[in-house]
């Protein structure tokens, strides 16, 4: 869990009062493991392109590698794993609205494509 930096007991009160509480200090080993995994995952997503995988296999792999990398960065490098849930949810939940927007625009662009083909002769 969160290890506080070495502060004398006399300073604790003022440290709490100023912003020294909640320092994020963790064993270096954790960072090295995450760092290594980020390289492995990036290499994996590059291999997806290198081997020219196509269609659903390609998209699934890209998304898996992307989500894993994003989670590792946020959880460990940005310390969200060690923050209180009130903060984590405050930053992680609002982007769900974007996903709703994505659904709306996927539907909309489908309609645009349809009209381009049907009424503007883009099909030929």
């Amino acid at each position: 869990m969160v290890q506080h930096t070495d502060i004398g007991s006399a300073q604790v009160a003022s440290a709490m009062a100023s912003d020294d509480a909640g320092h994020q200090q963790h064993p270096l080993k954790v960072y090295f493991i995450v760092w290594g995994w980020l390289f492995v995952l990036s290499f994996g997503s590059y291999m997806v392109d290198f081997f020219g995988l196509q269609s659903y296999l390609r998209w699934t792999l890209i998304l898996i590698f992307m989500m894993l990398k994003a989670s590792l960065i946020m959880a460990f490098f940005m310390h969200l794993k060690w923050e209180r849930l009130a903060l984590s949810y405050a930053v992680l939940l609002p982007p769900i609205a974007v996903l709703v927007f994505v659904a709306i625009m996927a539907y909309e662009s489908d309609y645009t494509l349809f009209s381009r083909i049907e009424y503007f002769g883009a099909g030929q």
């Binding site: 969160v2 930096t5 909640g22 760092w35 992307m66 849930l85 405050a90 930053v91």
Partner: protein, 241 residues
């Protein structure tokens, strides 16, 4: 401007965790983000708003790409590097990705040594991070030059296929590159302050008049990791999809 200090009695040592903790922290008349300083809360709010900006960029990219009947250029070929007459697909972008991830790693080291109050190591890791960031921007400049000069791609069209490709490419990578460049500038500023000992002596900042402290390094790090995070999504959706 005075330092923020909670008035009244200090927080009780143990607060509820899990969902109970969420409701307890968010409910009525309290400081919501316990044990997080206002600066950290504010950088997170900023990053959230920035998330929306990049999300909307990627969303508009999805919209134009899926609504056009014209062939979308194959990123794998467009961004290939030719070495000794052989084409390596997407190699430049792969190198850029590795450089940015490396810089994230060195940033995390800087934050860690910052909290250990190791002035010299923190400064060195910040400088290395800035250097890697500058390398990234440099390679992006190379990439842009290649696309503009050799391929004739413009924001309003390109000879390879769908004209939207140009507009989306320059907007998204340009905005991200700007973030990286600003990050490099702030990394250098932070490194200078670290080396000068501002965070050890609590020297007050020029603009904010607030006492220097090593938490600034972590906040710098949050921004920098966010830039890396955005690249993860751009790499997946724009270059690989």
């Amino acid at each position: 401007m005075t330092e923020t200090s909670p008035t009244g009695s200090p927080e009780p040592a143990a607060r509820p965790t899990g969902w109970q903790g969420v409701t307890a922290d968010w409910s009525s008349d309290q400081r919501t983000f316990k044990n997080v300083s206002w600066r950290k809360a504010m950088i997170w709010i900023f990053l959230l708003s920035d998330t929306f900006i990049f999300s909307i960029f990627l969303l508009s990219y999805m919209t134009v790409r899926s609504s056009t009947k014209v062939e979308w250029p194959n990123a794998s070929e467009v961004f290939a590097l030719h070495i000794g007459g052989q084409a390596f697909p997407l190699l430049l972008i792969a190198i850029m990705t590795f450089v940015l991830i490396s810089s994230s790693g060195t940033m995390v080291m800087a934050v860690n040594y910052g909290y250990r109050k190791d002035r010299v190591k923190t400064g060195i890791f910040l400088l290395v991070t800035a250097l890697l960031g500058a390398m990234f921007v440099g390679m992006q400049a190379f990439e842009w030059t290649k696309l503009i000069v050799d391929e004739g791609i413009r924001p309003w069209g390109n000879p390879l296929g769908a004209p939207q490709f140009g507009g989306i490419f320059f907007m998204i990578t340009g905005f991200h590159g700007t973030h990286v460049s600003i990050g490099v500038i702030f990394l250098l500023i932070t490194a200078r302050k670290v080396f000068r000992g501002d965070y050890d002596t609590g020297k007050r900042g020029y603009f904010t008049s607030r006492k220097g402290q090593y938490e600034s390094v972590e906040i710098m790090g949050l921004y920098w990791h966010f830039v890396d995070l955005v690249w993860v999504f751009i790499f997946a959706f724009f270059y690989l999809w």
